[in-house]
């Protein structure tokens, strides 16, 4: 019956019917929450009460009460972790795009952690970081036994351990993306460079880096906004105790544990703004030639 209609009316029917469900879902679960969040952030709502308008009171609390803003310093660990992660991914992607024995094994081993379940990884590293656990044993084996620490007990070290776990988890993703991008560079370019006497490092600097610059910047955006919104690994492993609470853990606790939806919304709005600013800045710096 549908095929009896003219193409012109078919067109309308198909546009409407194919878009209605996806657009409804998009509006309800992506945009409405953001809009509501803005609205809640100006109120003192606790989830049940009448919403009373507070103006910028919640924002003032977040920025002035050190209990809320201090946690941003925790994000710095993940932020620096991001750069370590990128550098390692780039390094391994570069050497594995040239001739290497057991290439598939190394590629698989370095990539595999990315596929693992977040809770499994969190528990795995709880075990790994225990006193006399996996890490300490390896260090003793290497003669570094004197340098072992309470990896998750010492508040000065805990965030490094957690950010390290995060790097362990996500590095494989960047690695495989970089590897794919590098492998799309034609082999002739390297040959020509080699004839001109360019060494491996020069090839990396002048051939590989420029060709995959955009991919690197895209990955950096993803990784930085990921670092700012770090949640799973620290929440699963420590629940945010011992000075390891990130901004998102704090937000989730404020909302769901203490029922301060208004305040938590203000925190979420701030984070959303920071992530958007970082993304826009990145695009400015890296994307101008696109």
């Amino acid at each position: 019956m549908f095929s009896k209609l003219s193409y012109k009316s078919q067109r309308i029917v198909i546009i409407v019917s194919f878009l209605i469900v996806p657009l409804t879902l998009l509006a309800t679960f992506s945009f409405l929450p953001v809009a509501n969040m803005f609205w809640y952030s100006f109120t003192d709502w606790n989830g049940f009460s009448e919403k009373e308008f507070l103006g910028l009171e919640n924002y003032k609390t977040v920025f002035t009460d050190p209990e809320y803003f201090r946690v941003f310093t925790v994000s710095l660990y993940y932020f620096f972790g991001t750069f370590v992660q990128m550098a390692l991914a780039l390094y391994f992607a570069t050497i594995l795009s040239f001739k290497v024995r057991y290439k598939n094994f190394f590629k698989g081993a370095i990539f595999f952690p990315y596929l693992l379940n977040g809770v499994a990884i969190g528990f795995m590293f709880l075990l790994f970081f225990r006193p006399d656990g996996g890490l300490d044993t390896v260090m003793q084996f290497l003669g570094l036994g004197d340098f072992t620490l309470y990896w998750l007990g010492n508040p000065d070290v805990i965030n490094i351990s957690l950010a390290g776990t995060s790097v362990w988890r996500y590095m494989g993703f960047n690695f495989i993306i970089f590897l794919g991008a590098i492998s799309s560079i034609s082999g002739e370019i390297y040959e020509a460079a080699e004839i001109d006497g360019a060494n491996r490092f020069q090839q990396f600097l002048y051939i590989i880096m420029p060709s995959i610059r955009i991919i690197i910047s895209l990955n950096l955006i993803l990784a930085i906004s990921g670092a700012l919104s770090a949640f799973e690994i620290p929440y699963i492993m420590t629940g945010g105790s011992n000075g390891s609470a990130t901004f998102v853990i704090q937000t989730v606790d404020t909302a769901f544990k203490y029922g301060k939806i208004g305040l938590a919304s203000a925190m979420a709005v701030i984070l959303l703004f920071i992530v958007i600013i970082v993304t826009v800045l990145q695009r400015r710096f890296f994307g101008e030639e696109d």
Partner: protein, 276 residues
């Protein structure tokens, strides 16, 4: 000249072995612990292999007491519905936006693009109220609907792929009198197969490994998925690391099997899925 290459080769292999070791050792520790008995676990070092590789007592306990069976079942149901839904939604949107130019089509595309910028965890405070108001809290639909409505990477993968499907195929089908729906169903959808594989992989990884969605929206024990069932181990088995290890392995094994058998597709899928 020769010498320089030799030292370069050594550095290369040493760093590769180091990288692989860092990736593997934490998993190995868990694998060893999962086969140890309680006393053996306390008495031996973490990198000492278990004395009896056939000791599956911990796995049994994790599987039965730890609610992992329910977890697997629920994860599978959510995974299958999400993948089918994502494929349909993504391909329908991509078909319409790629083949028809109409007023607002740019705006709609921009809307989907903008949504990818919103980091999921941050908006949960408000999303929760909506899910709750719709009566979806503590039902599987909460997770399904969120996976369909907020994770829209599939639309990009399909849109990108649509560019490579020639419009002349549509036109010749129209000469034969095919309706637009027939064109979508009989021509576009089958040709999208490689992109569908990509979507299944990207979505599969996301859904299987997601923690906060089921944790926030489906706290009921009957609704536990792999992540949340495993997360529950933390309390009651606090000190029984050999049982927790078995639970971790149970969550990892399906991933490992999928990785070994689908390696090539996973690599290609992630690479093509990430280049927006």
């Amino acid at each position: 000249m020769k010498k320089r290459y030799l030292s370069g080769t050594i550095i290369k292999y040493v760093s590769l072995i180091l990288g692989a070791a860092v990736a593997i050792i934490p998993i190995l520790v868990v694998l060893f612990a999962a086969f140890k008995t309680g006393t053996e676990y306390t008495a031996t070092g973490p990198l000492t292999p278990p004395s009896d590789w056939t000791n599956i007592e911990n796995f049994k306990r994790a599987f039965v007491e730890g609610n992992m069976l329910t977890g697997f079942k629920n994860t599978m149901i959510i995974l299958i519905i999400s993948i089918i839904g994502t494929t349909l939604i993504g391909s329908m949107v991509a078909f319409v936006l790629n083949r028809f130019k109409f007023r607002g089509s740019k705006l709609i595309l921009g809307g989907f693009l903008l949504a990818t910028l919103i980091p999921g965890v941050t908006t949960q405070v408000a999303t929760f109220q909506i899910v709750n108001a719709l009566g979806l809290f503590n039902t599987m639909w909460a997770a399904i609907v969120l996976y369909l409505g907020t994770d829209i990477i599939a639309i990009y993968i399909f849109l990108q792929f649509m560019n490579s499907i020639s419009v002349s195929l549509d036109e010749s089908a129209m000469l034969d009198g095919a309706s637009y729906f027939t064109i979508y169903r009989k021509i576009i959808l089958p040709l999208l197969a490689p992109a569908i594989v990509t979507v299944i992989i990207v979505k599969g990884i996301n859904v299987y490994n997601d923690f906060y969605t089921p944790f926030l929206y489906m706290p009921k024990t009957d609704l536990h998925v792999i992540s949340t069932a495993l997360f529950k181990f933390k309390g009651p088995y606090g000190s029984e690391w050999e049982v927790i290890s078995a639970g971790i392995m149970l969550a990892i094994i399906p991933t490992f099997i999928a990785f070994i058998s689908l390696q090539r597709y996973i690599y290609n899928g992630l690479t093509s899925g990430s280049v927006k």
